[in-house]
């Protein structure tokens, strides 16, 4: 499949989160419309805003007496709000390029994703700035928050609005561990991998609350788009491992993980930063997970999962990194259960049945 078709398919599958982010942007632009339009007209009521019927029957100047004079924000503050609002409307006008990025030469996957999130994130930066201005009109703009507002600064609510990303990259740049820090809220990343890639790199990202999949046909993307949590899907050329880890599947790993293909061929050369040994290790881990699926794992109790995420403690970015062992079948050792329990309690499972 040519890459542009893949990109289109990925964007189509991500319509839900994409529209959500855009809608939140539009809602914000609307909310501050009065500051951005009315004030710039000096609050004058020309009558046109009453429409023809109004103008035929109502004297606009007298009617203007009835328009409540808003809490006055001083001129300086208004200008600053307008500058921030400009950032927001600029983002609304951007089409899909807001959600699509490439890895540049000498750029790591982490940097590319960070950059893309930070660009879109200036929506959050701008909104925070406006809200701060409303509370204290003299507040200064934070350093560069209107230009770049990186993921690690986003709070839990913002992370749930996170825009989805489609990243084009060469196989050699595929380093799953670099994405760990973004697996939170509803951050979704689709990797369109060009050329030879490590066969099972993403297996390292599997944690109970994270949607992780490797695909060669893009079928899984629709489900990914509907998933209410974080995740990564890598769309790889043929020959790679194909699996889907969908947290909606259930509390047991066997219910969540489905492995469709594991390449027979052993990794034979270093790819980007991944040694043959590391690639082999990835595959071994996938094999181990598959083996685990056939054993009857000890039941792990899922604690109350019905809590809306709003009620949760703010999760630190990169919590997924500590969860590396949770993808393995839980043994009957209680510390592991304890750990699993802890990880689950720290993970956003609000979308789960």
């Amino acid at each position: 499949m040519p890459s542009d078709n893949r990109q289109e398919a990925a964007l189509a599958a991500l319509t839900g989160p994409l529209t959500h982010f855009r809608s939140c942007l539009a809602a914000t632009v609307e909310e501050i419309r009065d500051q951005t339009t009315m004030h710039s007209d000096n609050g004058a009521v020309g009558g046109d805003d009453l429409g023809r019927f109004g103008v035929d029957h109502i004297d606009p100047e007298r009617f203007a007496l009835l328009i409540s004079q808003r809490t006055s924000v001083d001129h300086e503050a208004t200008l600053r709000i307008q500058r921030a609002a400009g950032v927001l409307s600029g983002l609304v006008e951007k089409e899909s390029d807001l959600f699509v990025t490439q890895i540049g030469p000498n750029q790591s996957l982490r940097d590319a994703v960070d950059r893309a999130f930070a660009d879109a994130g200036c929506a959050f930066g701008a909104a925070r700035f406006i809200e701060r201005l409303r509370n204290e009109p003299n507040v200064e703009e934070g350093a560069g928050e209107l230009e770049r507002f990186p993921f690690y600064l986003w709070n839990r609510k913002e992370r749930r609005i996170a825009p989805p990303l489609v990243v084009n990259l060469e196989g050699a740049a595929l380093r799953a561990d670099e994405l760990v820090g973004f697996m939170d809220g509803r951050a979704k990343i689709v990797l369109l991998v060009h050329g030879e890639a490590p066969p099972a790199s993403l297996v390292r990202l599997i944690t109970p609350g994270t949607f992780v999949a490797q695909t060669t046909d893009g079928e899984v993307l629709r489900r990914f788009g509907e998933f209410e949590g974080p995740g990564v899907v890598a769309w790889l050329p043929g020959g790679a491992a194909v699996f889907t880890h969908d947290p909606h599947g259930g509390a047991q790993l066997s219910e969540r993980l489905r492995v469709d293909a594991i390449p027979e061929e052993r990794p034979h050369r270093r790819l980007g930063g991944r040694s043959i040994r590391q690639q082999t290790e990835d595959l071994r881990q996938l094999h181990a997970l598959v083996a685990g699926l056939h054993e009857q794992p000890a039941p792990v109790r899922v604690p109350e999962t019905s809590e809306p995420a709003e009620s949760r403690v703010d999760a630190p970015a990169g919590q997924g990194a500590e969860a590396k062992s949770s993808g393995e079948a839980p043994a009957e050792v209680s510390p592991v259960q304890e750990l699993a329990k802890w990880i689950l309690s720290r993970t956003d499972l609000s979308g789960m049945p």
Binding site: R33, D34, M38, L50, G51, R52, I58, L65, L66, S68
Partner: protein, 639 residues
């Protein structure tokens, strides 16, 4: 059309075999056309397409639906008559006129219904389906003969047309196709642009398979061809392409579109005729622009949800009709009491009770203004044209928001289903309004901190820091604390009334139609404007000193009314609601019930107004109003 040389024979052969020798081209400045069928045979669709095409060609047009009395009336009965009346003219047309000049009927029984309602001009041309003349069923043949006998009392020119027979050459079941054949007849008679007609048919059937539009177009073309081969007259009504871009739609579509233009994106409603189609329209377009039609479990819940949404920061609206207004009464009082902006569209229908669900009346005026217990000052306005249906929604939202009160837009079934061209609105982004102020409430400001001069207070929308309070329908003080003390209640009532008074000061005085003084002034409101003004114009050509005044704001009322009325020897209202006729048994000046605007104006101006009102379930005809004017002038001056 007295000079139409068609024969009155009922023989089918007479008009079907021979080509007409010469075709008469009849020129008129306007014509009234009707198409009537049994309910379900599609006469309405045919008429709406004809009206729309005429408007698109640049004719003035006004269409009014003829709605059957029942949902499934038995076919071939007068009660089954369903269709459209279209008045087309060279100039702008403002009402449905008096009597029909040309009618096409699908059977003689629905035709009889129009005859009995005196809807047809004495010399009207009638094209009627001929299949009944020699129908297998003896009863039907007898009905036909009896009907022809009854119709012979007028000087109609009756032309039988083999509609069914012709349609069979294209479709198997002509019951679902006759209307397009008839559209073809109209199109030929009035020389309509067939490309426009085809385009409109395709639009009508856009949601069906293309084959459907195709066969309908074939039927239309067949009708036009048949007419060209068999009819010996054509009617010419000159059309001028308007200079301005125009749109054509019905009043309910205009209300829906106006609501969106005004930035209102939540319509809570419960199905009720004739208001429901506003929500049909919105349900379709909200999918594109974003918005919600909340179909609630009942009328009360609908207005409650709208109030909840407005409390949350929107200006929500609800659409309903008389019985629904009655149910919403308590909530309307609450919205006014808690000072929550709300727009209510009441598409008035005939009352009382369930009354005439599909038909026009103007009888919700007093109930709307005074129908809620306690003093409930609000804004009530009545658009008089379909164009105003659109633009009034923009003003309604602005006023509701500025005054934080209820604004009721009174339209009616005539506007709701009527189709009329009007200048295309130049949409303005400012109409979308601005969202409520969400900044923190300054310390010390209270939720009902009325400005004593204006009666207005800041709007505390949930989410505003420091604005926490409980809005209540109980008497409350400036802090929204429940308080039954005499001063507090007096003050609350005063402030809620004051802002409406301040708003009244911004209203422009209404403009007198005709001379500024004279023997009689006719006052109307709402959809009767066109008919009243036409009647006044006709009266003036007879030399009568009569003018008219049309009111748009009924609460508060526009300024200067008393002064205007005082310049005329006599004043009367003309309305579509019930009043006793003076001279009827037992009716005296002490017990006479008056028209609703008449009651209101008498109280408001202390002028001794009279009224002429009717409740026919259809729009008033200018000719009837003219007669009423003549009668009133005959009584002499009162002041």
């Amino acid at each position: 059309m007295s000079n139409t040389p068609s024969s009155t024979t009922t023989s089918v052969e007479a008009s079907s075999d021979s080509l007409p020798e010469s075709i008469q081209h009849l020129k008129f400045s306007e014509h009234i056309v009707e198409v009537v069928s049994d309910s379900g045979e599609g006469a309405q669709k045919c008429g709406q397409i004809f009206g729309t095409v005429s408007a698109k060609m640049g004719n003035g047009a006004w269409t009014v639906e003829i709605i059957p009395a029942e949902i499934q009336p038995p076919p071939r009965t007068p009660g089954s008559a369903s269709g459209v009346r279209i008045r087309i003219g060279e100039e702008k047309v403002t009402n449905w006129g008096d009597e029909t000049n040309l009618v096409i009927a699908f059977n003689e029984q629905v035709l009889l219904s129009r005859h009995r309602l005196a809807a047809l001009a004495d010399d009207a041309t009638i094209l009627v389906e001929s299949m009944w003349v020699e129908h297998d069923d003896e009863n039907i043949r007898a009905e036909w003969r009896a009907a022809m006998e009854e119709l012979s009392s007028a000087n109609y020119q009756i032309v039988p047309v083999p509609i069914h027979e012709q349609c069979l050459t294209v479709v198997d079941n002509p019951r679902r196709g006759k209307n397009m054949f008839v559209l073809g007849l109209f199109s030929w008679i009035y020389d309509r642009d067939l490309d426009l007609v085809r385009e409109q048919i395709r639009y009508q059937f856009r949601k069906k398979a293309t084959a459907v539009a195709k066969s309908n177009i074939a039927l239309m073309e067949l009708g036009a061809k048949w007419a060209s081969e068999h009819l010996d007259f054509r009617v010419e009504i000159a059309a001028t392409k308007p200079e301005r871009a125009m749109v054509v739609m019905n009043g309910n579509q205009a209300v829906g579109m106006g609501a969106i233009a005004a930035g209102m994106d939540l319509c809570a409603m419960y199905p009720i005729t004739p208001a429901t189609s506003v929500s049909h329209y919105l349900a379709e377009i909200f999918d594109q622009v974003g918005g919600t039609v909340h179909q609630a479990e009942d009328e009360i819940s609908a207005v409650g949800a709208a109030i909840g949404a407005s409390y949350g920061g929107k200006v929500a609206f609800t659409v309903t009709s008389g019985p629904g207004m009655a149910l919403k009464t308590e909530f309307l009082g609450l919205a006014v009491m808690t000072e929550i902006p709300l727009v209510v569209v009441d598409v008035q229908r005939g009352g009382p009770s369930t009354g005439l669900p599909t038909k026009v009346e103007q009888s919700d005026l007093l109930a709307t203004i005074f129908g809620q217990p306690g003093d409930v000052p609000k804004v009530v306005m009545a658009p008089s044209t379909i164009e105003e249906c659109f633009h009034s929604m923009i003003a309604a939202r602005r006023i509701a928001e500025a005054l934080r009160t209820v604004v009721v837009v009174l339209t009616d079934a005539n506007l709701a289903t009527g189709v009329q061209p009007f200048p295309r609105p130049a949409l303005d982004v400012r109409w979308q309004g601005s969202p409520p102020d969400m900044s923190p409430v300054p310390s010390g400001v209270q939720p009902y901190d009325w400005d004593d001069e204006l009666g207005l207070a800041d709007r505390f929308v949930p989410g505003r820091k420091g604005g926490m309070h409980t809005a209540t329908g109980l008497a409350h003080d400036r802090t929204s604390k429940i308080d039954y003390s005499p001063d507090v209640n007096q003050m609350g009532c005063k402030m809620r009334a004051r802002k409406v008074a301040v708003f009244q000061e911004s209203l422009k005085p209404p403009v007198v139609h005709g001379e500024q003084s004279g023997d009689l002034i006719v006052v109307g409101w709402g959809s009767t404007r066109g008919a009243i003004e036409e009647a006044v114009d006709r009266a003036r050509t007879e030399g009568l000193q009569v003018s008219s005044l049309h009111l748009t704001f009924l609460s508060p009322m526009e300024p200067g009314l008393k002064e205007i009325l005082s310049r005329f020897g006599r004043a009367m209202t003309v309305e579509i609601n019930y009043s006793d006729d003076p001279g009827d048994p037992h009716i005296t000046s002490e017990n006479r019930r008056l028209g609703q605007l008449c009651w209101l104006l008498r109280a408001h101006t202390l002028v001794d107004l009279d009224c002429w009102t009717r409740v026919p379930g259809e729009p008033l005809r200018p000719g009837e109003i003219l007669n009423a004017i003549r009668d009133m002038l005959a009584k002499g001056a009162t002041q």
